[in-house]
């Protein structure tokens, strides 16, 4: 099964960082990223650029493009990865090497692990109360 992991950070936390602190934390991300990429279970490991986001939607039947993200929030998605895992706990085990899960405690970093595309399988048959 495939799982999408979203790495979050807070704008406040990021703004508090000095340039040196930022460099230090980025340096620590390297080995973690390398391990994640090397484990053979992570299909895509990527970072996202905060600015220059375009949101597409249909307005009055016409496609419209607006400047900026869909969700205006202090919490931002800064990275994502897709893991191939045998189950949710296996995905958690693999994803636990991601910087957003391991680092940035004081910066509000976090990693969300979400199953892709098989929700209906366990909704079926009253799987969710």
């Amino acid at each position: 099964m495939k799982y999408l992991c979203l790495g979050y950070y807070t704008v406040d936390g990021r703004d508090r960082l000095t340039r040196d602190e930022y460099a230090a934390i980025v340096a620590r991300c390297g080995p973690l990223d390398a391990e994640l990429r090397g484990c053979g279970k992570a299909g895509v490991v990527a970072s996202l650029v905060e600015h220059e986001v375009v949101t597409l939607r249909t307005r009055a039947g016409e496609l419209s493009a607006t400047d900026g993200p869909y969700v205006e929030s202090k919490e931002q998605v800064g990275s994502f990865l897709i893991v191939e895992a045998s189950d949710l706990n296996d995905a958690v085990r693999i994803a636990s090497r991601h910087p957003a899960a391991r680092l940035g405690e004081e910066l509000g970093w976090a990693l969300e692990v979400r199953p892709i595309g098989h929700l209906e399988e366990y909704r079926r048959d009253g799987g969710i109360r």
């Binding site: 391990e35 191939e84 048959d125």
Partner: protein, 422 residues
């Protein structure tokens, strides 16, 4: 993505590795837990070992002893990962230290990587550690010992996969933080630890045998896993109560086909077509009861199995030897003085001495308030009232039972009976 459709692995080797995974992965994991002293590290090592097998077996061929190859490879990969991580400051170097205490010489290593039955027993004891919550014990046992996925466990227990995932993550953190993992229990601890293992297995069985909620009465996925675990524990730890538990599960499960109609409705013991009971399971269960009684102090599971054996041995409902069943409940009540056992005894007394006598005992339990929210108590009272001709009281109790019952087939049964009392 590069996984899943790896063209460098011929299909037949892939399916070979998969079949080795199915037959060996739990034993490889169990041995890795012994060698690495940590459940999570062992799981990771297991994954790495099978990944290496997929890469190396196509060219090099299947090793002479695949299991030993996997253990040795997994251990090597784990040490490698720990070395790498010890250079990253977030990771604790403690585990690497523990690892260097592992056997160094070749001959010694060869012996160490051989699977021993104690490995799997250790894994069962770890998963059922009394320091973990009952929910966590069940989830961990089904995942690590039975190889069910988080999603399958969640589905079986009607909870969210994320809830089960969190339980498992926390349980592993508890095991690691308290270093509870690897030692087999001492002789002194053993009875207490076995109790926890048997309780967990029986809980899995019961959830399967009479689901607490949902649309089906019986969940054969869970009863099947519980019986499998019961067999494993009997093999690893032959003892009166492990025989007793396996016997109990086999005897209860032997009635599976007769307990529900094709439409999923409940069929009571008295109405069941006994020719549909599984004779092989009954035979095995009866043998196990004998062995349990012969091999030591009789415990709660053995007595319950003996009660189930009485039902299994009766040619039809009227041939049930209720006096023996009541006597067995008397014995069970001495071992487990709980209100639920008392309730079951009251029902048996109601069969031996008449509904009024059973009702008197049920009223006593009800008056104490112990089981006032237990739907089966109200269902039992309703049935005794019905048989005693107290229609109004029966109706009242069926209604109360219906308010408390969570599972659809049982609710339909109670509704039917309630209507009959109107």
């Amino acid at each position: 993505m590069e996984y899943g459709s790896d063209t460098s692995t011929p299909g037949d080797t892939r399916s070979l590795v998969e079949s080795v995974y199915r037959s060996e992965s739990r034993r490889v994991l169990a041995t890795l837990v012994r060698l690495l002293g940590d459940l999570e590290l062992a799981e990771e090592a297991l994954q790495e070992a099978f990944r290496a097998a997929l890469e190396q077996w196509p060219a090099g061929g299947l090793p002479g002893n695949p299991r030993a190859w996997l253990v040795s490879t997994g251990r090597f990969k784990a040490i490698d990962a720990l070395r790498r991580r010890s250079r990253i400051d977030y990771w604790d170097g403690e585990r690497l230290e523990a690892m260097s205490a592992a056997p160094a010489g070749n001959a010694e290593m060869e012996r160490a990587i051989e699977y021993i039955p104690d490995d799997q027993l250790r894994l069962v004891f770890i998963c059922c550690h009394p320091e973990l919550s009952q929910d966590a014990q069940v989830a961990l046992t089904l995942r690590e010992v039975c190889d069910l996925t988080t999603e399958e466990i969640a589905h079986a227990f009607l909870v969210r996969a994320s809830t089960v995932a969190q339980r498992i993550v926390r349980a592993k953190a508890t095991l690691r933080a308290r270093k509870l993992a690897v030692e087999l229990p001492s002789a002194q601890e053993l009875p207490h630890r076995i109790d926890a293992v048997l309780r967990t297995i029986y809980l899995v069985f019961n959830e399967g045998y009479a689901a607490s909620g949902g649309t089906r009465l019986i969940r054969t996925d869970l009863t099947g896993e519980a019986i499998r675990l019961g067999r494993l524990v009997v093999e690893l730890l032959p003892d009166s109560e492990t025989y007793g538990l396996l016997a109990l599960m086999l005897l209860q499960d032997s009635r599976r086909e007769a307990r529900v109609t094709d439409d999923g409705d409940v069929v009571l013991l008295e109405d069941q077509d006994r020719s549909r009971w599984n004779r092989n399971q009954i035979q095995e269960g009866l043998e196990l009861v004998k062995r349990a009684v012969a091999s030591g102090t009789v415990g709660g599971y053995t007595v319950q199995a003996a009660i189930a054996a009485e039902h299994a041995a009766a040619a039809d409902y009227t041939a049930t030897r209720w006096e023996r069943i009541v006597a067995l409940y008397d014995l069970l009540l001495r071992i487990e003085p709980t209100p639920v056992v008392e309730l079951n005894r009251a029902v048996a007394v109601g069969m031996r001495d008449g509904a009024e006598e059973g009702l008197r005992l049920v009223e006593e339990i009800l008056a104490r308030g112990d089981l006032s929210d237990f739907h089966l108590l109200h269902a039992a009272r309703a049935d005794l009232c019905r048989r005693a001709g107290l229609r109004e009281q029966a109706h009242h109790s069926y209604r109360r039972a219906l308010e408390l019952a969570g599972q659809e087939p049982e609710r339909r049964f109670l509704q039917r009976r309630m209507r009959e009392m109107e």
